[in-house]
């Protein structure tokens, strides 16, 4: 109950700030129009106008909400104007990229744990890979793959995996190294093999770390996919929707796409959270 109250208060404050910002930022257009029509704008006229412009600098919340409603519920799912259609395109690439990125992160982390050469060499490259701006590298991946005839889902998923493997790699290295000396000594007293130590101790120890990293990773996957959709000529996907919005000054459409992306991210993170809860519960690690 207290938590709900806190959340509602924060949302209320944001909405109030948003509406007042909308008045301020859209006022110039309203004033210009009034001056052209040679009419005096009262304050209530100003407010009414700034909250209902067709191409506002900052759309008011209810405009974004209406656009969201209109482009999800009111449109056919296969329509080019449906956010569900575009969201699905983005989601496909996100999920594929996330799965590939997570597997890559796990494989690399196991290599780092067991192969000394990898331990010394992989991490600096992984860190370097994340310091390169994704906006710079994404178009190159798209162009290069396009030149060999690969387009659509795969290039986007690669960019998405490129972003999501890293948190999984870092988390899994930490998780696989979580067992302390005493735990490893205990296994030694049983003459346990390396695979016993891996499957019975290291892997289960790393599960909580894996889920925490996957929550970061799936959000990064979505960002990667959207970035990957920007340079594709802007045809399909939430990223494309953002780009066409900006081409034609459709700010309301852009904000609606942004919110759709945010909701999608929240949903995906929540799903990973649910999986985490049920797996940890099954393992007896939730009290």
């Amino acid at each position: 109950m207290r938590k709900l109250f806190a959340v509602c208060t924060v949302v209320l404050v944001i909405v109030v700030l948003w509406y007042s910002a909308a008045v301020k930022m859209n006022a110039k257009w309203a004033h210009d129009q009034a001056a052209r029509a040679k009419v005096e704008l009262s304050f209530s006229d100003l407010v009414r106008d700034t909250w209902a412009q067709e191409r506002p600098v900052l759309p008011a919340p209810h405009q974004v909400a209406a656009e969201l409603w209109d482009s999800t519920v009111m449109k056919k799912v296969n329509s080019k104007r449906s956010l569900i259609f575009h969201g699905w395109i983005t989601l496909e690439a996100t999920l594929l990229g996330f799965v590939v990125g997570t597997l890559l992160g796990i494989v690399l982390s196991v290599g780092i744990i067991y192969i000394r050469a990898m331990d010394m060499s992989v991490m600096p490259w992984a860190i370097a890979s994340q310091t390169i701006p994704i906006l710079a590298i994404a178009p190159m991946i798209i162009v290069v793959l396009n030149s060999v005839g690969i387009q659509g889902l795969i290039p986007k998923a690669i960019i998405s995996a490129y972003l999501s493997f890293f948190p999984v790699l870092v988390g899994m290295v930490k998780g696989l190294r979580a067992p302390d000396h005493m735990q490893l000594d205990l296994l030694k007293t049983y003459n346990a093999s390396r695979s016993d130590a891996f499957y019975k101790l290291r892997l289960p120890s790393s599960v909580p770390y894996l889920f925490t990293s996957m929550k970061v990773g799936i959000a990064a996957s979505l960002v990667g996919t959207i970035v990957g959709e920007l340079p594709t000529g802007a045809i399909r996907g939430l990223g494309a929707r953002l780009l066409t919005g900006s081409y034609y000054g459709q700010t309301i459409q852009m904000w609606a796409a942004l919110f759709a992306a945010a909701l999608l991210a929240a949903g995906l993170v929540a799903l990973v959270g649910l999986a985490e809860k049920s797996v940890l519960k099954k393992m007896g690690m939730v009290r």
Partner: protein, 266 residues
């Protein structure tokens, strides 16, 4: 050499030096000791006296620098492969994702016991440490003392003849500790195991042991070996007897002498 066959553990001029950044640390120097079958041997001394190192050397978790160490008449590594000992650490170290029963099954799975055998053994050792009915609980559902008992059960599950215990009750409060000491004695006399037990506590060492090894640091060495004159049957009240007080006194003297040497070295 010939005689080492008859000792469960036999150390001759055993030295163990750790190379550290601050130069070599002599964890053990010229240690000579025999442990016979059925002995309950306590190692007592201040930190850095090498008591844990000696126990770990018996378990082949550390490699001696020089000297000879035999376990069951063979090398510590081979003894380990023969499942000669179960090791109990200071922390219970149970896997939080396994129930108590499955924790006890861990060594059995690794050693390749059949499912039926695993089940039978888990039940037997749970009974041995008085944890019947707790097999399906997770570690966090048990108190610290019960967790440590579960870890002892785990060490007993594969029928090793030697039980090596490194301050197993060090983190527990005195009342729980007394109770576990009593139980451990019962377990020892009913199973006839040979026990090596590292402790900081003089009363614990005197109450439990047939042989008390007093050690001192820098370099880690044995300063006194006391054969206990207490009977095998030991109620808690034995701690008020004159014999007990005399032995405890001798241990204390040994520790003080060792500590004096250490201080002089430093």
């Amino acid at each position: 050499m010939m005689h080492s066959d008859f000792h469960v553990v036999s150390a001759k001029d055993l030295c163990l030096t750790f190379q550290t950044n601050d130069g070599p640390v002599h964890a053990l120097k010229d240690v000579n000791l025999q442990i016979d079958k059925g002995d309950f041997v306590s190692f007592i001394g201040p930190s850095g006296c090498g008591k844990t190192t000696f126990l770990r050397a018996i378990a082949a978790l550390e490699n001696p620098t020089s000297g000879e160490l035999m376990v069951n008449g063979t090398t510590p590594e081979l003894a380990r492969k023969d499942r000669a000992y179960g090791y109990v650490f200071q922390a219970a170290g149970l896997y939080p994702w396994r129930t108590i029963a499955r924790n006890i099954k861990l060594p059995l799975e690794i050693m390749g016991f059949t499912k039926a055998e695993q089940k039978e053994r888990v039940e037997r050792v749970l009974k041995l440490v008085d944890l019947e009915g707790f097999g399906n609980k997770f570690p966090w559902q048990l108190s610290g003392g019960m967790q440590q008992r579960a870890s002892i059960a785990r060490a007993l599950s594969f029928d090793a003849d030697i039980l090596l215990m490194d301050e197993p009750f060090g983190a527990l409060d005195e009342i729980v500790r007394d109770h576990l000491n009593e139980q451990l004695l019962k377990l020892w006399s009913s199973t006839g195991k040979t026990i090596g037990f590292v402790t900081h506590s003089i009363p614990e060492a005197v109450y439990l042991s047939t042989k008390i090894v007093v050690m001192s640091p820098r370099p880690g060495r044995i300063t006194d070996v006391i054969e206990s004159t207490l009977p095998k049957e030991r109620p808690l009240s034995i701690r008020d007897s004159q014999d007990f007080i005399d032995i405890a006194h001798r241990v204390r003297e040994g520790l003080r002498a060792g500590h004096g040497d250490g201080a002089a070295d430093a």
